[in-house]
Symmetry: C2
Subunit: 165 residues, 2 copies
DNA sequence: GGGCGGTGGTTGCGATCGCAACTATCATGC
DNA sequence: GCATGATAGTTGCGATCGCAACCACCGCCC
């Protein structure tokens, strides 16, 4: 931070070059563009947001087709309060149901309903195709490998504990 | 673009493998983790959101330190209504000011104030260092080159017209 | 030179988020 | 058993977004 007074500012621990900054900027733009496109597709064709879809997928894959609120929060990378409202809306739409937790009376077991399963299955091909069309199809196998390896490294540095799925 | 009508949809252009899907998932996670970290840093140390900071940067670089509302919207990748509220809050905080546009009475020229400039300058090193620490420093030059090239390609496909900065 | 489609900005509305405070329950230790 | 600290969820609050409807103004055309 405070540069030692005699040394030229040349080599601060941050040699963030213009190219590197620009690459970050582009990363943001790609995220916005691709995620936005996926969101719009799913909205228009399935009346589902990506977040809703993703919760449904997680529930469908979970043992007993059911997860605790906190589990959802950690998988979704959202706060617990966000999950509370999200599940409020999802259950109002009939896609999930809240059930008491047998072994922990504090807990809520969120279960996907048949309607939820149906919606998820209808949305899946659209969403997967969207990911391919807007993203994966633009990347070669080797690019994807490099990219994914880099992402794993960044995630490991950023989030020491978590690494699931 | 319009597919020739006689071809069967049989082998939709999408062999989205599990690895590719996982890479997309990781892309999302990296974005959330890194962007979240940058957001928290800037919030805590400068009382500025990344969006606010980014608007200030754009204004400071603009000729006359001023931009039209729509210009901000297109640079920010946000809707016009979002920009309206954003500028409401920014000007309530004294960081920008709305001025009439000389040559177009519909327009609003948003100008950065001295306080805005000061805030931006205080935030810049923190934000840039954050980008380096949480992101760029994890990537080698060659990785960044590959990654950026791929991003450019995706953006070009996704947004035919826009490509500035 | 008046009409008309297009652009610039705002506003109402509903969806979404995180933080902090709160309630209920669990788990542990004495 | 009961106090005490941790954990699970919810709720109040303020910030944020996009869409659609709206108003004002511009540019153009006849």
């Amino acid at each position: 931070m405070a540069k030692s007074e005699t040394l030229p500012p040349r080599r601060a621990e941050t040699p963030l070059t213009a190219e590197r900054l620009l690459a970050w900027r582009r990363f943001i733009e790609v995220h916005a563009a691709v995620f936005g496109a996926l969101e719009r597709e799913l909205n228009e064709r399935c009346s589902l947001s990506v977040t809703w879809y993703y919760i449904l997928v997680q529930l469908a894959q979970a043992p007993g087709r059911s997860l605790r609120m906190s589990d959802i929060a950690s998988v979704l990378l959202h706060s617990r309060s966000a999950v509370t409202r999200l599940v409020d809306r999802l259950s109002a739409a009939g896609l999930v149901a809240r059930n008491a937790c047998e072994d922990d009376r504090r807990g809520i077991a969120v279960t996907i309903t048949p309607l939820g399963l149906e919606s998820m299955r209808a949305a899946a091909p659209i969403h997967l195709r969207g990911i391919a069309a807007h993203w994966a199809n633009h990347l070669s196998d080797s690019e994807l490998e490099i990219l994914d390896a880099a992402f794993v490294r960044i995630l490991a540095a950023e989030r020491p504990p978590r690494d699931s799925l």
